[in-house]
Subunit: 236 residues, 2 copies
DNA sequence: CGCTGGATTGAGGCCGATCAACTTCAGTGG
DNA sequence: CCACTGAAGTTGATCGGCCTCAATCCAGCG
């Protein structure tokens, strides 16, 4: 991990905020402890947050920014396991094995909170609401990226764009947004080549379903995009 | 759900057994409560355990047998989301939405325990060890089926067979086993056609990497199979 | 201004889907 | 026990979509 510098800005929150310092609830009931946040810091673009195969110790809450987790394959290829955006929590996959079987890299400047997992477990004991909430969050995680199994490229990309449009802005659906990752990253995630991603974007644009200008995406016909995402239509 | 009949046989356990009736630990410390098991019953082959889109209320622990979860798609196709075998627990995916977005069907006669989720949460409060254990189990679940994103058919199937060989017998790796599901089910899970599954099996057999006789599988060269699973080699 | 890496576009080949024929298997009833 | 039947599995021929490789375009930046 590159030497991160501490973050003294105002926290804009994450999925664990209800249990964290300064939440409404905790201010009203100072007898409750807050989540044991180890420290907050900033990871710069293209810097590494987690080294591959390193020992699992922390969950990372992303306050602001975007992260990719990358698994290098035996054949030399790189597989992107997931993208994580503002508000989301990263690291659950590593609990079972005690190791992060991936590298985590910031796609944009990213503000992160570290939560020591053992402290977290200890805090969990005294907080049944968090017990329920954490099961909810991991359950959500189990359903993320289920569209990866689609076979058609246009379907995968339609799902991907719809997914991004709601996750990039803290679950608020936005029809316009900036792609934080490259075509290659998208391809590595969806198991397509960058060329196929590019071609499919072009076709979607030619049909006026999306607009695309480098990394700037606009969803023009969301209903059509949803139909493609469900496999009911194709482009061209 | 078809009218299930109660199971009065001896329990052979599941991933939650350490917290359940009759475990070593609980017999030694009778002051601890046991997990609130609602009831045990048997689901016959091809019968339904969970109706599609039904309200989430229970986690299901599979004591013995095999289950598939099926999601019907808008285009009429059927996607198999997962297979569950002896010892495994089914239902985490439904926590976040409060609904099972799938059908669960028994592939073979299956013995199941129902756990009411609200009772489970209540029990969880008083049991930090279970808190830790359940996070471990769901973390494991997050990593199941990660090989689905492979692009090549032989690679998917190699991963699938290795996965099955260890999961079918309570995490004990067995080089010989019986496939509980059809070629079509395998295809729907791996996003291949039944024809491709059949052809790939045949090629693996011709190279003496596996033996296959209808549903009976033997893994002859596990090291080679692992290489294929990692994308280092192909068949033929 | 040229450099560099990402993005786009084009031509050709391969793998898995599709469609169809055939074989094998499991279950049923005579 | 065998004959029948429908489902599951295998095998073959063809087609199409994505990959591959290569050239070009473009944006950001010194």
């Amino acid at each position: 991990m590159h030497t991160p510098h501490m973050d003294d800005s105002v926290c804009c929150g994450c999925h664990l905020t209800p249990f964290c310092i300064g939440s409404e609830k905790l201010r009203a009931n100072p007898e409750f402890d807050s989540l044991p946040v180890k420290r907050r810091f900033v990871v710069k673009k293209n810097e590494r947050l987690i080294a591959p195969n390193s020992h699992f110790q922390y969950l990372f809450a992303i306050e602001k920014g975007s992260i990719k987790t990358v698994q290098s394959e035996a054949d030399g290829g790189e597989l992107i396991r997931g993208f994580y955006f503002s508000g989301e929590v990263l690291g659950y996959e590593a609990i079972y094995s005690g190791r992060y079987h991936f590298t985590a890299i910031a796609l944009t400047e990213t503000h992160v909170c570290m939560l020591d997992y053992h402290d977290f477990l200890y805090y969990l004991q005294s907080n049944p609401e968090l017990q329920q909430h954490i099961l909810y969050l991991i359950s959500l995680q189990l359903n993320v990226g289920s569209y990866l199994v689609s076979t058609k490229a246009d379907r995968k990309l339609a799902c991907f764009l719809l997914d991004l449009s709601s996750r990039l802005h803290r679950a608020q659906m936005h029809p316009e947004f900036q792609l934080p990752m490259s075509r290659q990253d998208i391809g590595n995630y969806l198991r397509l080549t960058a060329e196929t991603v590019s071609r499919t974007f072009t076709r979607l644009q030619q049909n006026n379903i999306i607009s695309i200008n480098n990394k700037k995406i606009g969803l023009l016909k969301i209903d059509v995009l949803r139909q493609i995402a469900e496999g009911l239509t194709s482009v061209e």
